[in-house]
């Protein structure tokens, strides 16, 4: 049955994957990718969808499902690709059995991220096909295509979306659901056992597949030309969502010829054809100048290529219909200047949040030392860097609080404290804690446990109810492991424990544990609805 639904880009990806017959989705929450897995959890209970501990475990489990013959989707935000990279790159060497699509949600302009790395580089690095839908409809339609392509080429396929597609809603016409693959285990050990001898053969096979990838892009239904009836001096290459901004600015009567790219490796023949009709090309792509750089070498240094590298488009940040319009020579027509009485309004920790009490305690104790350093991590509690707390000295990547604290302690800094959330701890903090324990590093680790993955909206946290056991198992001494309830009334107890443990010349772990205000409120609301 065909019907029309109003879907976020993320939801369109999710429903497209379900309709493509996936048997599992593997993911760790991360803005702007989270809603994909949530949609599958709520709408397709027969698909395996529980949250994974991190992106690497997600990628590997998906590969295992593929090995067993079934289709699997892996979802993560762009920086999650760094965590999954080992498994991701090697999955191109093993190849796949059941189709695998890896979705990377990039965040140009860093709305909720610490960098704006462009995941397309990972696809090229791994030498696999990359798909980049422009619209919610394409995000839905492209999923069955992506899984078929994966199974046809026996390679994982990378699907790249950006924040503005992931978090924008539009009407999507949806179709029929394909049945899931049956179990059919792969018997080719030489594909899967990547000893050097096998790996060399597999890599050669990957290299041999490259012309097929190229040929697929040249005829892809998702790479399309929009011709112009007028002689235009400039042609436009528009990748993914940039196509929308180009079309928004393109006057119908005298438009530029446009080549939309939504499948890579980039279609070189189509590009050369467009270049032949024009004197210059404008490259509109969200993220980094991935296509622009490649086109410069494809067309030679004499051909005029404009884009982010030439300053025709901003070097950083997401594209907008305004910036693309300027590059296309469209005049800006604003009536009103920016208002005078507007101040920035940064996000803040919720009122009543337990992290607030943790930072109050830490600030109090840290002030008693000349040079205390607090290494932070990724989550709501990163907001402790902002006023009124200004409590943390670093925030780099998932898990780096503990390991950076350890390194600083190794260098002689004292006192050093790490602050990490419960979900981030199981994601990437446990291994670092083991290093610190084995080295007997004098650090104090705060696992601020709010029983959820809060920043991304309250998903289940992999280690809930297991933290004391994990810490003891890794080798934290029982007398240096404390659980406290972060409330103002317990401030004296918490600060006293902190003072004592800072002076301990080994690893201490303090677990302030209190439920996230947001998940608590949601539960209360749900109970009320149930009762009424």
């Amino acid at each position: 049955m065909i019907e029309r639904k109003l879907l976020l880009g993320d939801e369109a990806v999710a429903l497209g994957a379900v309709h493509a017959g996936i048997s599992g989705v593997y993911a760790y929450p991360g803005t702007p990718s989270t809603e994909i897995t949530e949609y599958i959890q709520h709408h397709a209970p027969e698909v395996r969808s529980r949250w994974c501990t991190n992106e690497k475990t997600a990628m590997e489990a998906a590969l295992g499902m593929s090995y067993a013959g079934k289709r699997a989707l892996v979802c993560m935000k762009h920086v999650g690709m760094n965590v999954a990279a080992d498994a991701f790159v090697n999955s191109a060497i093993t190849g796949v059995n059941g189709g695998v699509v890896v979705l990377a949600a990039d965040d140009p302009s860093m709305h909720s991220s610490q960098n704006e790395q462009d995941s397309r580089f990972y696809g090229k690095f791994a030498m696999i096909p990359i798909l980049e839908p422009s619209t919610q409809q394409e995000a839905y339609d492209i999923m069955p295509y992506a899984f078929s392509l994966s199974e046809e080429l026996k390679l994982p396929v990378l699907l790249r979306v950006v924040t503005r597609l992931a978090h924008s809603r539009a009407g999507v016409v949806v179709g029929e659901r394909r049945t899931q693959n049956t179990l059919h285990l792969d018997n080719e050990r030489t594909h899967w056992v990547l000893l050097p001898g096998n790996a060399r053969r597999q890599y050669a096979s990957l290299v041999d597949k490259q012309p097929a990838l190229q040929a697929s892009s040249e005829v892809s239904p998702y790479n399309k030309s929009v011709s112009s009836h007028h002689k235009a001096t400039m042609g436009i290459i528009a990748c993914g969502i940039a196509f929308n901004y180009v079309m928004e600015n393109r006057p119908q009567e005298k438009g530029f010829p446009v080549l939309k790219i939504s499948q890579y490796p980039m279609p070189e023949t189509c590009i050369k054809e467009l270049a032949g009709q024009c004197e210059s090309l404008l490259i509109a792509e969200d993220g980094q100048p991935f296509v622009e750089e490649q086109i410069k070498s494809l067309l030679g240094s004499d051909y005029v290529v404009k884009g982010r590298l030439t300053g025709d488009l901003p070097r950083m940040g997401e594209l907008t219909p305004d910036s693309v319009g300027v590059a296309m020579g469209v005049e800006r027509t604003t009536t009103f200047a920016d208002a005078q009485y507007v101040m920035p309004r940064p996000p803040a920790l919720c009122q009543g949040c337990g992290h607030r009490d943790v930072y109050d305690a830490l600030n109090k104790v840290a002030a008693e030392y000349k040079d205390a350093r607090i290494f932070g991590d990724i989550g709501c509690y990163t907001l402790g860097a902002l006023p009124p707390f200004r409590a943390i000295d670093s925030c780099v990547d998932m898990g780096a609080s503990i390991t950076m604290a350890k390194g600083a302690a190794d260098a002689g800094a004292h006192p050093v404290i790490a602050v990490i959330g419960d979900s981030t701890f199981t994601h990437s903090g446990m291994t670092g804690l083991l290093d610190a324990i084995n080295d007997h590093s004098p650090i104090t680790v705060i696992i601020s446990d709010n029983l959820t993955t809060a920043m991304t909206g309250g998903q289940d946290s992999a280690g809930t109810n297991k933290f004391e056991a994990i810490c003891l198992g890794l080798g934290v001494e029982p007398e240096h492991l404390h659980v406290v309830v972060p409330l103002p009334k317990n401030m004296e107890e918490i600060t006293n424990i902190l003072r004592k443990e800072i002076e301990y010349q080994g690893v201490s772990v303090i677990i302030p544990r209190r439920e996230c205000m947001q998940t608590l409120k949601r539960k209360v609301r749900q109970n009320r609805v149930k009762q009424s």
């Binding site: 709305h111 909720s112 539009a170 196509f243 009536t335 009103f336 803040a348 009424s532």
Partner: protein, 191 residues
């Protein structure tokens, strides 16, 4: 016909609910629709906005161009001002006049209201007070939607009412009734 609307507010004030209602009405009416939302970090008490585009024709960009928004609907007066660069020359601002002060350097309230009134088409009302006076404390955002209803044009107030009933149906009859009452209050408050 097209309508480009910017919804503005502070995380948690309910602008995404307004977006959901207009979006539902547009979908039922068979209009083209794009609705870019803010999820993630900013939702923790930061400024949030949603670009809502409705049209009888195909819509390309998920984002509204500067100088082309027909309407700014805001749950907070300073947040309404944040987007005036996006407003077209005939564009209107429908806003709550009640400031939400969660930053230490919040500007002088009178200055904000004066700047809003200096713009050609501003409607501002103390929606929180209206909500409280009518025992509808949770429906301030729907009062605002009611105030904006006549300006949306591409959808009629009646189409929006029907959408409110659909969107809140899951929460029970009482909630639907309260929100319809809130909508009607807002609608009646603007000439």
């Amino acid at each position: 016909m097209k309508k480009d609307i910017i919804l503005a507010g502070v995380g948690g004030q309910g602008i995404l609910t307004i977006a959901t209602i207009i979006g539902d009405a547009a979908a039922v009416a068979g209009l083209s629709l794009k609705q870019a939302e803010v999820h993630g970090m900013s939702q923790r008490g930061g400024d949030v906005q949603s670009n809502l585009r409705l049209s009888t024709e195909v819509i390309y960009s998920d984002l509204i161009k500067q100088g082309s928004a027909d309407l700014i609907i805001s749950m907070e007066p300073m947040e309404a001002l944040r987007y005036v660069r996006y407003l077209n020359e005939n564009g209107s601002i429908i806003t709550s006049s009640h400031p939400f002060k969660n930053i230490p350097n919040y500007p002088n309230e009178e200055d904000i209201i004066a700047e809003l009134q200096s713009l050609p088409h501003t409607v501002s009302l103390p929606i929180d007070d209206i909500a409280k006076a009518n025992s509808l404390p949770k429906s301030a955002n729907i009062i605002l939607l009611g105030m904006a209803a006549k300006f949306i044009e591409i959808l009629s107030p009646e189409q929006l009412r029907e959408s409110i009933a659909r969107v809140f149906a899951i929460k029970g009859e009482e909630v639907v009734k309260a929100n319809l009452a809130a909508f009607d209050l807002g609608l009646a408050a603007v000439k």
